[in-house]
Symmetry: C2
DNA sequence: TATACTGTTAATATAAATATACACAGTATG
DNA sequence: CATACTGTGTATATTTATATTAACAGTATA
């Protein structure tokens, strides 16, 4: 099974993290159905131009999140997580993001109303309604 | 001028960061008016039980954010930033938090409506309306 | 100018994050 | 069982983040 992942050795972002983010996204989006056999750590490492330890770390991390299952001698598979668990994991990731953002807002003494207003502006900028999905709304990024 | 800051050497959070967060908060909240002379790096270091380099780093970082002014031989002062700039800085910090949270939401393929719903739940949990401000709303933290 | 303060710079130590090579162990299959 | 695959564990190298000391330079003032 060929996994469409792109990594850049020049990026400041660690390779293991680049791979994790993309592979997690492929699993959560359903592009890699439950039970899919992933490439072996050696095969994947050669394809991406990194060490097998780096791939192993990715597989270990995602297994810790319940997204993968590994069996020594056999291989690594997309875990058969129920829809409920998957949805819960997705929600948890987003909740943690908002928790941090709200903590920042409290730190700089934003009022509740001000916080809501800023959120709405950010949402309009980075997650606009579907009917309007231009390449770049004309504003600075 | 005595600056009320508490640091814990046991915390996993780096000391320079603990100090930065608290000092930034004191400035942005107005507890330290513009022009206030801060303790010298040696005096502050002794009071907090760290090296002068650590205090220097804090002063440098906050100066980079436009919150402090330093003059060699004289001391370090709370910068005379205009209300507009200060408000802009506050907003930028919160915007960056929400940008990261929304990026996460997009990564796990949250819809716009789902993202809004999660935000509202988080807001209710960590920044409840003023009329209801219990010690801990009865839920897990 | 002498002194006593102020911040500054360079060199360095320590710990944590990131990435690796190599030897080891489990599994499937002839 | 022999082979060729699979993941695993140990020891280690490299880089970055964090923190420090000691010598240096600017400023105010008697």
């Amino acid at each position: 099974m060929r996994i469409p992942i792109q990594v850049s050795a020049e990026s400041a972002e660690p390779m293991y993290h680049q791979i994790e983010v993309q592979l997690r996204s492929l699993i959560l989006s359903g592009h890699l159905p439950e039970g899919t056999l992933l490439p072996s750590i050696r095969e994947f490492a050669q394809e991406l131009g990194c060490s097998i330890i780096t791939i192993r770390r990715v597989y270990q991390d995602l297994e810790g999140e319940g997204l993968l299952r590994t069996r020594q001698g056999t291989g690594t598979f997309v875990a058969s997580v129920g829809v409920t668990e998957r949805e819960q994991y997705r929600a948890d990731a987003v909740i943690e993001g908002f928790r941090a953002a709200i903590e920042t807002a409290k730190r700089v003494h934003c009022s509740r109303e001000e916080t809501i207003q800023i959120f709405e502006q950010c949402l309009a900028k980075w997650m606009p309604p579907e009917q309007a999905q231009p390449e770049n709304g004309g504003k600075q990024e």
